[in-house]
Amino acid sequence: MVLFNLAFVAGVFLRRFVKRRFFSIKDERRLLWVRIVEVALEGGGLPERVPSLRFGWERAVAEEVLLGWWRTATEEERARLQSLFRTWGLFNARRARLHRGGKWEQARSALVLGRMQCHDTLPDLLGLLHRAPSEIQAAVLNALDLLGDPEAIEGLVNFLIRRRPRETRPVLSALIRCGEGASDRLLPFLDHPLPLVRAVVAAALAEVVSPRDVTALIPSAADADPEVRAKVARALGRTGEPRAFEAIERLAVDPVWYVRLQAIDAFSRIRLPEVHDRLLWAMRDRDWRVRQKAATAIHKFISDPVYLLERIREELDDRYALEALITVLEREGKTWEAVNRICSPISLVRENSQELIIELLRAQKFAATLSAIELHPDHAVRRELLRLVDEHAGSSARAPLQELLESRTLDAESRRTIEVLLARPEASP
């Protein structure tokens, strides 16, 4: 046991020694290749004697250098890099390993060929995809994703049909990349009898659809599978085509909530006057997620948030919708913008800002206003906000105002005003 332990530790040191030596040789070789590629990209010729590419590690180093340049290269430089990749025999070696290498070598080869945009290896990659075990499938799908070749679409869909993978996202991602600018090649598969195929293709179309696809998409809005309907709703919205309005309108009353959700999102992308009413109507949906989506979507159409807040507060009385809209306003910095403009010399800007703050106070959302009273550098703004709190906040502001008094950053005048407000027995707040 002692001997075993000693031998083991000695082996570890020996291994490290060998590896370090090997790494330093690799580093030297890498520098050499970097110089060669640099010269080649600057238009100079290749040296008469290039370093050896006999062994796998030698080819791997050369490849690493090419791939390193690839990331930042221009189109012209990429063409040159690809030509070097082929001239040095790296392409043929990779292609051969795609068929005959071990699992890892196959996966690595697929990715290298994909990254180097070797479109002529597409049949090899698709062939490998159909027969490869799952570890390699992921790499091949990534390679197809990197290639982004529309010719791969049919092969990818066939892969879905034959293998029915549990994990469809890599296929979807590859379909999206391959379908960019070639959505017409995806459309025929929307009629496929297999729901899995329809759902994945519809999801891909939702990302790459073009306005000319609307007519072909509309029949699929009545698909039996809600997944497909939801994706079609998304795709129709992405077209931004007014022709899609009626189909989306039908989807907006779908019995399944996530189909309605996608339809509401789709509405927000179609610039038609009728959309406002539909979105306002969707704010009464039975599902809170749909109401929330409608509240945030409508914000894109109606630039006057005061009007929207009023409608939600008075007509719908829906907490989710109200909070969703206010969250959007906060995240987009609209409330802070209103705070900053509350003393604007332009009366219209000033009034709009004041109205928004008043609406927030009426909705009992005090955070933005009180935060500004505490931290805003402009004295006039703080005073104006306190005036609005006094006039519009109501008695529910008492507790947050009380809390504000504990702040150490509150200025003396604001503190006095708040104390006066709180001292009033019945008046607001």
Binding site: M1, F8, V9, W104, N142, S173, A324, R331, A367
Partner: protein
């Protein structure tokens, strides 16, 4: 055979069986990890970050960062987190009622303002005093809440997150630039993954600037080097093995990603235990197994989270007591799934292993008294005992250095000869003194379990930037 002899026979048998089982587990995990470590780094090299950055499949992630009295490091940490390489990222910092100026630092550095953002308390937490948005960085949100402990803070962050994945990160930790992308790769490639985590390494001794590790080095403090050895063993040997078996029970609170819906469905982090990171994973296992859905909880060894470890005995003692107490709390809470067929690897292998580990200090302490007693009684076969001791010691050494070896075979972050020698030396030296100290603190942890003190596990932070 009289009664005393019978008791002696039974106790000896128990101790030998206990250690045999323990070593069998270790050996099994070591072999599995050796296999995993042999293949993992190669597959990890296939990752194409630019592809994942622009991929449709890369899910949005919210980094949930609980902070309690972290003035020294919080701003630097948040800057580093916002600079991570990940396409759709939000950062939610939760100021858990800090008594120092953590919130003030954040307000000043990121120009925070209080905002009315929808916050639905799906997971119950202590009162949220306010939510802050940054006027400089739209991806940053800060929750200010009443102190409720780390779990409570994490739950508040989960409540605010809107993304399908959340990742808990300690405020004093440093993630490598590609760490999140690498850890999420597991989820991107397999949609059954519900939780995943990376390795936690020790930042003491490393050169740090602007929340980035510039140079990896071993710490000069001996106590920290012992912990480096421990962490290497714990992560590369233990977790990799359990992950391979889908029996991983610990996803480090310092760096662990979860599917938000699953985390919400299981009720978030438990607030009644200090071992919340382990407890939540056990509940996730239970939940998924109950639903009979395919799922995986995985450990990926190449994404690195660097963290500061205690260099003072007092702080280390508190930490180890807390860990031991947390382990016992989790085991007590989930004792009902031990050896349940439906719980598979978790019920049959993982939990029993942790039960063995939790009780190891007691058995070892018992051994320290039992052996002299049987020697005094004249029942000890000295030749047999010497052989047993030598075997145990040598096997112990192999297991002690196994973590260092796994590191050497895979990632080799410590590059100099001196560091390798130091690591091996400390792995061996750990058996004498340090191991016994741990044993004592873990015994104290067992006592704590019965007394149940409540604390956040405070540690004095020096701040990475200042140290470097």
């Amino acid at each position: 055979m009289n009664l005393v002899e019978l008791i002696f026979f039974l106790v000896s048998g128990f101790i030998i069986t206990f250690y045999a089982l323990f070593y069998a587990y270790y050996l099994f995990l070591f072999l599995v990890s050796l296999y995993g470590i042999g293949t993992q780094p190669r597959w990890a090299r296939l990752l194409v970050p630019e592809q994942l950055m622009g991929s449709y499949m890369t899910p949005p992630v919210t980094l949930v960062v609980p902070a309690y009295n972290e003035t020294a490091t919080i701003v630097e940490s948040v800057h580093a987190l916002l600079g991570l390489q990940y396409p759709r990222l939000e950062v939610v910092v939760i100021n858990d009622g800090s008594t120092d100026d953590t919130l003030g630092e954040l307000i000043r550095s990121f120009s925070l303002r209080r905002a009315d953002v929808a916050y639905h308390a799906r997971l119950p937490t202590e009162r949220v005093r306010g939510i802050y948005l940054s006027t400089l960085e739209r991806r940053l949100m800060v929750i200010d809440k009443v102190n409720g402990g780390k779990s409570d803070a994490l739950n508040a962050g989960i409540n605010l997150s809107r993304t399908p994945w959340v990742c808990s990160v300690d405020a004093d930790s440093i993630l490598e630039e590609e760490a999140l992308l690498r850890v999420m790769r597991a989820a991107i490639e397999d949609n059954t993954v519900v939780a995943c985590s990376g390795i936690v390494r020790i930042a003491n001794g490393c050169q740090v600037a602007d929340g980035r590790i510039l140079r990896v080095a071993l710490p000069s403090e001996r106590l920290a080097v012992f912990q480096v050895v421990e962490y290497l063993g714990g992560f590369l040997q233990g977790r990799l093995g359990w992950s391979w078996l889908n029996g991983l029970l610990i996803i480090s609170g310092a760096f662990g990603a979860f599917r938000t819906d699953i985390l919400r469905a299981v009720g978030g982090y438990a607030r009644d235990t200090v071992g919340e990171d382990m407890e939540v994973v056990v509940r996730i296992h239970r939940y998924c197994r109950q639903l009979r859905r395919p799922y995986r909880v995985v450990f990926v060894p190449d994404p690195v989270c660097w963290t500061e470890v205690p260099t003072r005995l007092g702080a280390l003692r508190r930490q180890r007591r807390r860990w031991q107490r947390g382990l016992l709390e989790v085991l007590a809470k989930h004792w009902d799934i031990f050896f349940r067929p439906r719980q598979g690897v978790v019920g049959f292998l993982a939990l029993p292993y942790f039960a063995l580990e939790a009780s190891a200090p007691l058995v070892e302490l018992f051994g320290y008294f039992f052996v002299p007693w049987i020697w005094w009684m004249g029942w000890l076969d000295t030749n047999y005992f010497q052989l047993y001791l030598a075997m145990a010691f040598l096997v112990g050494i192999v297991f002690a250095i196994s973590g260092v070896l796994l590191e050497e075979f895979s990632f080799r972050r410590y590059t100099s000869w001196r560091e390798l020698l130091r690591l091996l030396f400390f792995a061996l030296a750990k058996q004498v003194g340090y191991h016994q100290l741990m044993l004592w603190w873990r015994l104290e942890g067992i006592l704590d379990y019965f007394r149940r003190p409540r604390e956040w596990g405070e540690q004095v932070r020096t701040g990475f930037g200042k140290r470097s």
